[in-house]
Every structure is written in structure tokens, then in C-alpha cells.
């Protein structure tokens, strides 16, 4: 396992993770997962609840150290968080003492540089996400959907090449979710970013992704992989759900998910 492919932004080679519990028992969460995320590709990982999806995500961005295996960033093995990762969770994790725009500027501020530039970029993103005029609002005054949009803007602000999303839309109501998914999709495609989406929502995975990877229950391995090939406009998420192929993929993945 010398090196990865330099043309692939993010690649996992046989990564696994075990924890040792307090009573000395070894608990294997991830057995072995290998895959590559190509440039501009949207891939979903779906698995039954509690299969270790979040652990897997933390391994991929090297917030956690794998027990075995390696993570490659453009062909180089990484041991800390690689530059160019955007990370988004179900919780929006907005800092309550910062206004919306200050939250969007957080990653830029960490990177350093001119503040006026940061503000410009943050303003542009807020506008693109339909939040113009809300920049000076504190998170506590925004709705759940708006907060998640601010979080999305914060994630996109440092211009990450790879986005790692852990069920970021699952707490939203269906309507809000479809709208924010559509905007995310548009931005990701436009900016040629790669997106890895971890979700338990099969329909969400099929509607958004180029590829869906199905995970087993714990200890987690890859069960199967589906290339999603749907006709028509991929950005029309409602129409997509009604197309014939869509139901086929969803049914197929459901049976493989092994939900008892």
C-alpha cells in the first residue's frame, strides 16, 4: 500500500477502526473500507443506522487515526486533516456569538489573510444561498433551514476541493431539504467539487449521487456499489424521484441494506 493515485483527491485503502472499551474488550467498528472519490464526483455512503458512518467520515478526514489502512490525498498518504476538506454535520455547529456572516468567515479567518476579502467572499456565498440581508443576524434568530445554509456557506467559503457531509440535511423538513439539496448540488457541480455524502436516506443518496456505496452493519464493510444512471435533468430532484429508474435503484439498495 505504497501510494495512492495522484489524480484522485481522496482515496481510502483498506481502512479499519477498532476501539478498546473500558472493560478491555476490543470493539471493531470498521472492518475494511476502500474506495476512491474522483474529481467532481458525488458519492453517497448509505448504511443501516449505527454502522459507524460518522466514524468512517472522521477517519476519511483524519480526525481519527485508522487502526489499519491509509487515507490518500492526491496520492499522498495523510496523517492530519488535509488542506482542502470541507466538513459538515447534521448539527450546523454555528457559533452563537458570531453573526451569520462572521460564521461564514470562520474558515477564512483560520487560514488568514485580508478581512475585507473574507467579507466579500462570505457576502457572495450568502447571496448565492438566498441569504442576502441576513448576514448580520445571529444564528439564534434564524430558522433551521437558514442555519444549515449558513453552515453550508461556511463549509464552502475556504473553497475546499472535497466536501464530506454527514447527514447534513436529515434534521430539515422535506421541503427545506429538497431546496437546500438542489442548491448544494448546483454549487458543487458548478465549482467542480467532489462530494462524499454519508446518509441513511436511500432516496436522498440516489437522487444526489453519481455513485452509491452500500455499507454493511457493524463491523462495517462495503456491500455493493451502484453507478446511478438516470435520464433527464439531474438537478430537478422532484421529477427525478418520479422517474422509473429511481424506484428501481431505491428498491435494490433497500434490499441490500439489511435492515431488520
Amino acid at each position: 500500500m505504497a501510494s495512492g493515485r495522484p489524480d484522485v483527491p481522496l482515496q481510502a485503502e483498506d481502512i479499519g477502526k477498532s476501539f478498546v472499551s473500558d472493560n478491555g474488550e476490543e470493539l471493531e467498528i470498521i472492518r475494511s473500507v476502500s474506495f476512491a472519490l474522483a474529481r467532481g464526483e458525488i458519492v453517497s455512503l448509505v448504511g443501516p443506522s449505527g454502522c459507524g458512518k460518522t466514524t468512517l467520515l472522521n477517519l476519511l478526514c483524519r480526525l481519527l487515526e485508522p487502526t489499519h489502512g491509509a487515507v490518500f490525498w492526491k496520492g499522498e498518504e495523510v496523517t492530519t486533516v488535509p488542506a482542502g476538506i470541507g466538513y459538515m454535520l447534521q448539527k450546523d455547529l454555528l457559533l452563537p456569538w458570531r453573526t451569520a456572516i462572521q460564521n461564514v468567515m470562520l474558515g477564512l479567518q483560520v487560514k488568514g489573510g485580508a478581512r475585507s476579502r473574507h467579507r466579500e467572499r462570505a457576502n457572495a456565498l450568502l447571496e448565492q444561498l438566498g441569504l442576502e440581508g441576513f448576514g448580520d443576524h445571529y444564528p439564534s434568530t434564524l430558522s433551521g433551514g437558514m442555519r444549515q445554509r449558513v453552515a453550508l456557506a461556511r463549509t464552502l467559503a475556504p473553497e475546499p476541493e472535497v466536501l464530506l457531509f454527514d447527514e447534513p440535511f436529515s434534521a430539515l423538513d422535506f421541503q427545506t431539504k429538497i431546496l437546500i439539496e438542489r442548491d448544494t448540488l448546483r454549487l458543487v457541480r458548478e465549482l467542480q467539487r467532489s462530494l462524499l455524502l454519508i446518509t441513511h436516506d436511500v432516496e436522498e443518496a440516489v437522487s444526489l449521487s453519481d455513485r452509491v456505496i452500500v455499507l454493511s452493519r457493524r463491523p462495517c464493510t462495503i456491500v455493493s456499489e451502484h453507478r446511478i444512471d438516470l435520464p433527464g435533468d439531474r438537478s430537478n430532484l422532484i421529477a427525478l424521484r418520479e422517474s422509473k429508474g429511481f424506484a428501481h435503484y431505491v428498491r435494490q439498495i433497500w434490499t441490500e441494506l439489511d435492515i431488520r
Binding site: L95, P96, V110
Partner: protein, 250 residues
Amino acid sequence: MKILACQILCFALFIALWQWQTMAGHISAFLYGSPAGIVAALVATVRDGSLWTDLATTALETLAGFALGNVIGTTLGLSLWYSRFVSQVLQPFILALGSIPIIALAPITIIWFGTGFASKVAMSTLSVVVVSIVIAYKGALGVDPDQINLMLSLRARRPQIFRLLVVPASMTDIFAGLKLTVGFALVGAIVGEFMSSTNGLGHEIFKSGSLYAISSVFAELVVTVVLALALSGIVTRVERLLLPWRHDLS
């Protein structure tokens, strides 16, 4: 509004009953004081100006101790976030220091800092500092680990995480600590004045008590209560000013 009316009524009734009973001779004004006596004592201290010097002395001691104790305590408490190892090593010492009744430290502070302003500030600081350390450290530890992961994913270094996340996230706890310790600082200053002093509210209370001037004791107590309320009022104001995002405060 109704609550306030009832509160005022209760207070007025109590004062009236007290005054009536002392005037009727049922309770001794010498032992228990009387509202009229308290007012007279207050007026006398205002006339000769001693009220203001005593009030200013105690207020300054309290504020100095409060500021010093909280600056030291908060700085220490927050920096303990940096090293779990250091914080675990220090834990028993902090607990031991916290368990000492502050009044027991009074003789030492007088030997070290003299009988003037400095020893009262020292007493006041000591009353504040341990609580302040514990609260700031608890606040720093309470930061959501997901939020720290988010900062790490943005490739923030530890000092950045400290400055951009841990310090502001601890502010809610720190302000709760300020509200608590402003009272402790006052207690420390008054205790210090009890031990040895030439002026201050504690000094006057102690002196009037020794002279059986009960109405004067009550008069000084009233001033002390007003001082305590004013100080905690200031802290609440400052909190509202500095944490504008806390909409639940206003």
C-alpha cells in the same frame, strides 16, 4: 406589577410593625434597633460624610478583589484547557485551596499585606479566585467536541481553537461566575475589615456592634445591601453589553 406591589406592602408592613412595637415598648430599641433609629443613623452618616468614605473604601476593595480574583482565576481556569495533564495534576491542590474557609486566611493576609487596603483586597481576591478557576475550567471543558472537530477540519491550530472557540464559548459560564463571585468579593472585603481596619462598611458595622449601636449596625447593613445589589446590577449590565447574541438575557 402585582408582585412588586405585594413586595412593597410586605416590607412596609414589617417596618410599620417594628416601629410600632418599639414605640409601644414591647421590644427594646436598644437591643433590636428601630426603623426611625436606622434612618436617623443613616442621616447622621450622610451629614458627617462618613457614609461616602466607608462606602467608597469597601466598594474599591471589593472591585479590586473581584477584578484581580477573576482575571487570575479565569486566565488560569481557561489555560488549564490546554493541558489535561497539568489540570489533573493541579486538581487536588485547587480543591484543597477551595476548601479553606477564607476567614481562616485573615491573620496571614494581615501579616503579609498589612492592615490597610492591600490586605482587604487580598481577602477579597482569595474569596473569588478558586471559584473563578473552577468555573472557567468547567466552561472550557464544556465545549462541544463536534465543534472542536469542525475547527480541526478547518485546520485550526490549538491557539486558534482556544481563541476563536474555547474562550468565547466559555463566556456564558464565566459571566455566571462573575455574578456569583461579586458577592464573594464583598464578603471577603467585609471580613478583612472585621479583622483590622480604620474605615469601610465592615469596620463601621463591627464598631457599632461593639458599642451596642444596633440602629447604626442596621444602617450600615442597608448600605451594604445596596452596594451588593449595585455591583451585581453592573455585572448584569456588562454581560448584556458584551454578549449581545444572548437574546435570552434581554
